[in-house]
């Protein structure tokens, strides 16, 4: 029986907009098992990114709690949470967010640097192998501004996976890519998470990508359906 990798328990989150209170997440219960692929769809502004941020611990819920590997993260301080996050999960953003001043290889190594500290030759070899897996073995020394959007997203995926996280949170990873490139990136993400046994929580507008998931969920009216 698979254990729960990440879970949201009765999570609620609202934002103040002027005088009114916008309830984005009303009562979200979600649990994702190790190695499971879950997709979340929903209309724009329904709170998908907020849910991912809450799951990642970079945003606190108003009520309810998030647990990683069965332990609540609610009482962890900001720095303790950050340190834990580095080894537990990887995030893939729609806008890639590569560091423009360093090459592809060093961008991939950033997750290992932040999570683990010193980088040795074994880490470099591992990062090169990861770039090889995402089809960019020959682009190690290329700077981000010389890569296409699809290539940048593949570097971002390699970066997220290098620390062998238990969960990947992907926030519309193909949103900025054309259909063909988006499909390739999605194939890659799904394949690598499958190989590594990493749980994948995918937020997407793309129904074709959503149907690939083990479980297909929809976020609407602040709740998961």
């Amino acid at each position: 029986m698979s254990e729960v990798a990440i879970a949201a328990n009765a999570v609620a989150k609202s934002y103040k907009t002027g005088e009114s209170n916008l309830e984005v997440l009303k009562h979200v219960d979600l649990s994702v098992n190790t190695g499971e692929f879950v997709s979340i769809q929903g209309e724009s502004g329904c709170g998908k990114t907020t849910l991912l941020n809450v799951l990642a611990g970079i945003e606190s819920p108003d009520s309810g709690y998030v647990s990683w590997r069965g332990s609540s993260i609610a009482k962890l301080g900001r720095n303790a949470l950050a340190l834990l996050r580095g080894g537990f999960l990887g995030i893939v953003f729609q806008s890639y967010y590569l560091v423009p001043e360093i090459d592809s290889l060093q961008n991939v190594l950033m997750s290992r640097r932040i999570a683990g500290g010193r980088i040795g030759s074994a880490d470099i070899e591992e990062a090169k192998a990861m770039l090889e897996k995402v089809g960019l073995g020959d682009r190690c020394k290329q700077m981000p501004n010389t890569l296409s959007g699809g290539e940048r997203q593949r570097v971002a995926i390699a970066r997220a996976l290098l620390t062998n996280p238990q969960v990947i949170l992907a926030d519309e990873p193909t949103g900025n890519l054309d259909e063909t490139t988006g499909n390739r990136v999605m194939d890659l993400l799904q394949q690598l998470c499958g190989e590594l046994g990493t749980a994948l929580v995918l937020v997407t507008h793309n129904a074709e990508h959503a149907v690939r998931a083990d479980r297909r969920l929809t976020l609407s009216q602040g709740s998961i359906h």
Partner: protein
Amino acid sequence: MPWYLYIAIRHTFPKGKRWPFFTIMSVTGVVLGTMALVVVLSVFNGFGHAIREVVSETTGDLKVMNGLIFEDYEDKIETLKESPLVHSAAPSAFGVVVLQAGNRPIFPQIQGVDIEEEREIVPLDNYVYSGSLDEMDDDSILISSGIANTLRIRVGDEVDIYTPLMIEHLKKDEILLPRLMRVAGLFETGFAKIDENTIISTLRTMQDLYGLGEGVHAIKVKLNDGVDADSAATELQKSFERPFRVSTWLESNAEYLAIIQFEKRMMFFLLLIIVLVASFSIATSLFTSVVKKTREIGLFASMGATSRQITACFCLQGFSVGLVGTAIGYALSFAILSMRDTITNALFWIIGGKEQTMQFYFFSRLPVHYDTFDLVTIAILTVSVATLAGLVPSIKAGMLKPVEALRSE
């Protein structure tokens, strides 16, 4: 290397790319501040050092005086020479006279010395550039280059000397007759205070001119190599009863040296303003960097970076700007100072007035002395100011909430 140091270096000095504009401006500010401090303070130290060397060489290391005239100087010299600290000692008398060449009078300082013993203390032979010390007798004098140039005196010329003693005779309605002296040599020590207005006679001549009898005003002492003047003065003072006092050349020229030290300190604080201005440029560029890199800050946080690490990342950018700026500043300062002759000659060629300036500042070339303490202080100060300048924007970066950073436009 920790990630925050790695990113700080890469943000500030990207590999294979031109340095960002803000980095160039910030580094330039630190370079200018460092250069101003290193160049000016090294020249001031050079002045101080050169003055100390010249003063010690031309006046001896110690002076024994009682403020009056004393006659038993030979016994005292013997006492001094018995000390293992002392290399040599020589009597000296000094005062002011009127020297007249043709119809032009001048009021030089006169030093009466025992030429042979004085040679053991001051390298007189090295200073004489025309004539010879061997030509010196009780009817001849040595004249400094300044007087020789002003009165156009050459070796072999004769000059009239009037002394305060003669004026005393004049008060008694006696006829005032000057002492006719032959110029045996012209000298230049390199210390303009002496070179401008000094004549040297034999001790006997000076005793006659000033009516000192067998008396002298002071005993000059040269110490053995490596002996500290202050501790030697304290030790030798034990051999002399008050009112005799053993003073170092530092004490004798204390006011002069204190002015140089004061000027150096004032310049240090004035030039520090340049470093402070540079620090504002660093703070501004780091604030801009924090704004530009807000999403990157969110990314680092999402990958597990703590707020302290993010603060360190930006603070280290200020530090690296300070470090690189200081290093370049030092390299350029040393380069400028090593080419100072060429630079000052070029400046004087443009603006003129080289001779007057050199006369005023006593030296024929710009002196430089690197003081390790000063160099270390400047380096620590500039790097610290640069780092502190980056502290406020760095704290702002560290306090950014990851989710707000990621959502920023």
